[in-house]
Subunit: 307 residues, 2 copies
């Protein structure tokens, strides 16, 4: 089938390009290591062209991108759209940058909301995945990661509100640069210490800066060996996130969207918290980009988009 | 007055030695940059001798040390004493290492306790400061720092129980290695953003991994400028600590012990939390070491110890 869109997922640490057909189906995918942070001297056009100049030459189709490429540190800032945020508002606020004469990249804006706690929150990239996942109104979707997102969906797949948890970043900082990492040996999977950590995090989530210290004392006291400590800390942090997110907004079930290994951890942890979870189907990112492109009139649906 | 004790405070990042007279008063103090982590190839004796070999030669008095020097990464591990832990238990469990023939260093053990949350906790060095501060039974003492300690005192100045909060380490990791630091400009004191952070942290302490993200979004949204963000995050983290520590154990007043600048921050934050605070008098570390040495019979009181 004929190509109709080049869909680019350009984050802080990855660049992925997908060539989509006239139904939004995948023709070919490519990726380059290093995201926006790895682009020297802000030469974003060059980075993109070295990945897929041949697609642009051959197919002359529109280009769309989502993710941190639209942040202040990216190619050009695409101002946040306020929640509730759906396809229509995003499609009407695409930011255009020239890749080379005749080729324009359309950058999907991130979204923002004001939480019940009076704190602003933002996301860039995940909103497009959420639109791609097309979840039912009233559902809650968890996107685990460096900055995990809990999002609540409204009518027509719009994101009503969401909350960020710095779980993944905290794990990285504490293990790579902090004192907790000094007692740890990495590489082994230890489901039982992970689960012990989750239980502790769920129970003591309101005392987070204290309870993470357990990942040091459990090592010092010989309760958990060096190989078990990374999963213990991972469990504590994920348990804290789940209990914190659901304290204000209790959930009976959530949808998980993201990296497979990370989703497995959350599945286990959610189960310990008494929360059912299902996985979003694969391909949410390109499906979301396709839908934004459709809404913006960059492409025309020749057949219905893949489910 | 004649020298009677060499008292050494040897932590992770500092080495301080004090020559004390027969009443426990200070004759001379010296320090060297870099604590146990800066000692090459575990040559602790050499590091100590380069700081104060002349004192050992001239006075031939006992040596006592407290702090991380008694940890597994230190000179020799001094096993933790269980809470409630007072001078007597510490004095009876000093660990001896030879500095050179004829000169023995007595290392004060750290202490440990089991929290109501089922989590072990440990301290090394702060227990000696607490014994030096000689606080009333029933009082609560806060020692701000990389790993802040909240300690509750019992009869005879014994430490009944305590809780660690990784506040200072989290601040350092998030600002130096994390994404929050990228929007920050350091160097300016901003009392008003500090206080705004404290209020947020106090209110939202049960949602810690989310609320620290406010130190990014407040920058992205232009609510707080780059110079104000470090103090905003500092306030959020200290607010979280205070609300977390007092949620389980409400306090009307606490004693602050530690670094002057840090104690000032906590004073402000405690006031916003409606908690009175007083400062412990200076010299708690050497006074504590002197008292342990007295209890262990390493020195004999020729006159009463300084108040």
């Amino acid at each position: 089938m004929k190509a109709s869109l080049i869909a680019i997922d350009w984050g802080t640490s990855n660049l992925r390009a997908s060539l989509l057909d006239e139904g939004g189906g995948l023709i070919e995918a490519r990726s380059a290591p290093g995201g926006i942070m790895a682009v020297p001297e802000r030469r974003f056009a060059q980075a993109l062209l070295s990945l897929c100049a041949d697609w642009i030459d051959t197919h002359a189709v529109p280009l769309i991108a989502s993710g941190m490429i639209g942040s202040r540190q990216g190619w050009q800032e695409a101002p946040y759209v306020e929640c509730p945020a759906g396809l229509l508002s995003a499609a009407s606020q695409l930011v255009r940058v020239e890749v080379r004469p005749g080729a324009v990249l359309h950058i999907v804006p991130g979204i923002r909301c004001m939480g019940g706690d009076g704190v602003h929150d933002v996301m860039r990239g995940e909103e497009t995945q959420l639109w791609g996942a097309a979840l039912a109104a009233g559902s809650c979707c968890v996107l685990p990661g460096t900055h995990s997102k809990w999002a609540w969906l409204g009518e027509g797949g719009a994101v009503d509100r969401f909350e960020t948890f710095m779980t993944g970043e905290l794990y990285g900082l504490l293990t790579r640069h902090g004192i907790l990492g000094r007692l740890m040996a990495f590489g082994a999977a230890r489901p039982e210490t992970f689960e012990a950590g989750v239980r502790l995090g769920l129970r003591e989530h309101a005392n987070a800066p204290h309870v993470i210290f357990a990942a040091r004392t459990a090592g010092l006291m010989g309760d958990i060996d060096a190989q078990g400590l990374p999963d213990y800390l991972s469990g504590i942090l994920i348990g804290i996130e789940i209990a914190s997110a659901t304290a204000r907004h209790p959930q009976r079930s959530v949808t998980l969207l993201g990296d497979d290994d990370l989703c497995s951890r959350y599945e286990t942890a959610l189960q310990l918290a008494g929360i059912d979870s299902t996985r979003a189907s694969d391909g949410a990112t390109t499906r979301g980009q396709w839908r934004v492109a459709l809404e913006a009139g960059l492409v025309t649906a020749r057949m219905k988009a893949p489910a």
